[in-house]
């Protein structure tokens, strides 16, 4: 069954306090080279064939991401 991956990220201008908190923990672990962290969501959908990418984009747009604060990328895995 084809798999579709949707990644949702906060828009760059939206504050990401969770990413900031993760970044704050990194120097304690010795990872000084990391200068920024943004946290997002990763969805894996199993979809019946044939895959209608346009329809799935609609799904991502109305449910998986909130277009007011987030943006998404969608890809169909080979």
């Amino acid at each position: 069954m084809p798999r579709v991956v949707v990644d949702v990220m906060l828009k760059p201008e939206i504050l990401d306090p969770q990413g900031t908190a993760i970044l704050g923990a990194l120097p304690r672990l010795g990872f000084d080279e990391v200068t920024a962290v943004r946290q997002g969501k990763h969805f894996e959908l199993e979809v019946t064939e044939p895959v209608d990418e346009g329809r799935l984009r609609q799904l991502a747009d109305i449910l998986l991401a909130n277009s007011v604060i987030e943006e998404f990328t969608l890809r169909v895995l080979p």
Binding site: L10, I14, L15, P17, Q18, A21, L63, L64, N66, V68, I69
Partner: protein, 222 residues
């Protein structure tokens, strides 16, 4: 006057909202998330809580509950709707109100008595309050940080649609200290603080919250 209070799976404050309606002189009507029928109510409260466990995003799944189909349709026709906390999040996810509620900027759950300034007294839910009055009601949220694009914020301010603003310290990082807003018609109001928890001196920090519910009843009767 019949005021519906919707119970979603995970709603917490539905009973308190019903109680506030009753104390204000209205008849609370329990509405169920899975039922499209609004049972002839004259207004609807979407209460606080954690509908659907806040999964995906707060309010994101509740927005597609059968009851919301009717609420969204009737809100467009002028039905008064008040969204408190999780209810505000649901109103934003439903696009009945602009913007979004995100994780508190400091990441902490904030639970305290909060001073608010009332800035719009022409909505269905605030017509009985005094403009520029300061009221104290509890605030309790982990994802109450209101955000919106700058042009949306300017429009909200320009049209006087900021209903209440945090007055003595911003509990969650909301832009421009916004605690609650309304739609263009003023029938849909959403706010993060909880007026339904400030309706009796025994259990609340004040009775300032009662004004939201009496406003509705007075405005509709007159």
């Amino acid at each position: 006057m019949r005021v519906g209070v919707v119970t979603f799976p995970g709603s917490l404050d539905d009973r308190d909202a019903q109680r506030a309606v009753r104390l204000a002189g209205g008849e609370p009507v329990a509405l169920w998330h899975g039922d499209e029928d609004l049972r002839r109510v004259d207004a609807v409260v979407l209460p606080g809580g954690f509908s659907y466990g806040d999964y995906l995003r707060c309010g994101a799944i509740a927005r597609f509950a059968p009851v919301m189909r009717t609420v969204i349709e009737r809100a467009a026709q002028g039905l008064p709707v008040l969204g408190i906390c999780n209810g505000f999040q649901i109103l934003c996810e439903s696009h009945l109100l602009p913007g979004a509620l995100t994780r508190n900027a400091h990441l902490h759950f904030r639970n305290r008595d909060q001073r608010l300034r009332v800035e719009n007294v022409s909505t269905a839910w605030t017509s009985g309050l005094q403009r520029d009055a300061e009221i104290v009601v509890p605030v309790k949220n982990g994802e109450g940080c209101f955000v919106a694009a700058p042009d949306v914020l300017d429009r909200l301010e320009g049209e006087g649609r900021v209903v209440v603003r945090y007055a003595d310290g911003n509990p969650n990082g909301s832009v421009r200290d916004i605690a609650g807003i309304c739609n263009a018609n003023g029938n849909v109001v959403g706010l993060m603080p909880h007026p339904e928890h400030a309706v009796e001196t025994l259990t609340g920090p004040s009775t300032d919250g009662l004004g939201f519910f009496t406003s509705l009843l007075t405005a509709t009767v007159s």
